[in-house]
Symmetry: C2
């Protein structure tokens, strides 16, 4: 049987991308990462892709006359790879409705907070400013509403009294690197059942 | 040196009230609970107070002509006990600004969610409907905004696939019964330092 495939969309450093492809390499995720797609021609993630022998595609918003054309290009790039799953790993651009609809239930994002708390940018800073004692990260399916789709997995991190944004972000990132590969693994094992807003874990067979 | 004193406000069953006075009895909390105050003449918490030899005061909203008079009565009752700390343990009535101002930094509440997520009523049901994987409880200082004061402590609970509101609430309650006495203990040890929205834990001396 052919393995499932996925593409990763990332805009920056790509540390989650690296964590994911490492877990493909060691056999934990039983699927193939067929491409890295980025909107940022300078993304360090591109180098990681090259190191891993994974094609890197740059679809840069700035090179298109409008949002619609950009989305057409992104859709065309995705269609070329025809992935079973689209993984948003620090992709800093909101995806249009057409893309979200096309990959409904087949697109995951990770967010550095315990959603629904601290949606949007700088979630870790928001958590510190609020004074929460427990932070964390959330892997969720992507829907039209930003940072609000069905939650697949969450991991918690204690906020320490001497935390700043950087130290808290680093500890959350450690959890992200574990939980995101786990969610992808479960997806390809067909263990994730979406029912409304809830995601259930099917029993091992 | 005289021990510090606190009063507990509760409207219902009083399971947190019981957990707290149990930890006074066994010496964990170094303070005296001088009264239970309730707005509900039928609260089971009243029986718990009697069993523990703690005076129970009923200040029932319905017996006063308006909110202002009710608050006057509640303030008068509080003043009689002149507590160092006011503990809201399932008190189902919003307190007026005068009371909140008077006990600023000296009034704690517990809420069955990881604030800022799921404020207001039926927090556990809200968590299940959202599909969050991590629920919990929050002890916080009370401010004018409901369920939004500086966070003292939080405890997490995993949401299970077969959880309903009752089962999740029960597991959260187990954590509430541990974390609320701990926060009160730390308050009387003068270990809690409020700075803006954050609460820091002072080192042991």
């Amino acid at each position: 049987m052919n393995k499932g495939t996925f593409v990763v969309l990332a805009s920056g450093r790509g540390s989650n991308f690296q964590a994911i492809i490492d877990r493909v390499s060691d056999g934990y995720i039983n699927a193939v990462c067929t491409s890295l797609i980025t909107d940022n021609p300078d993304a360090y993630a591109i180098l990681r892709a090259k190191d891993a022998g994974i094609p890197a595609e740059v679809v840069s918003y700035r090179t298109f006359p409008d949002k619609n054309m950009y989305e057409n290009a992104l859709l065309a790039t995705l269609a070329r790879y025809n992935p079973d799953l689209v993984v948003l790993a620090g992709y800093m651009r909101l995806l249009g409705e057409r893309i979200v609809d096309l990959y409904k239930g087949k697109m995951m994002n990770i967010h550095p907070s315990l959603l629904p708390a601290f949606q949007g940018l700088h979630a870790q800073r928001q958590a510190l400013m609020y004074g929460t004692k427990v932070a964390g990260c959330t892997v969720h399916f992507v829907t039209h509403d930003m940072d609000a789709g069905p939650v697949i997995m969450q991991r918690t991190v204690q906020v320490l009294d001497d935390d700043d944004e950087e130290s808290l972000s680093e500890r959350i990132l450690i959890e992200e690197h574990q939980v995101f590969p786990e969610a992808i693994k479960l997806f390809f094992e067909k263990k994730l059942l979406i029912k409304g807003r809830r995601v259930f874990l099917l029993p091992r067979t």
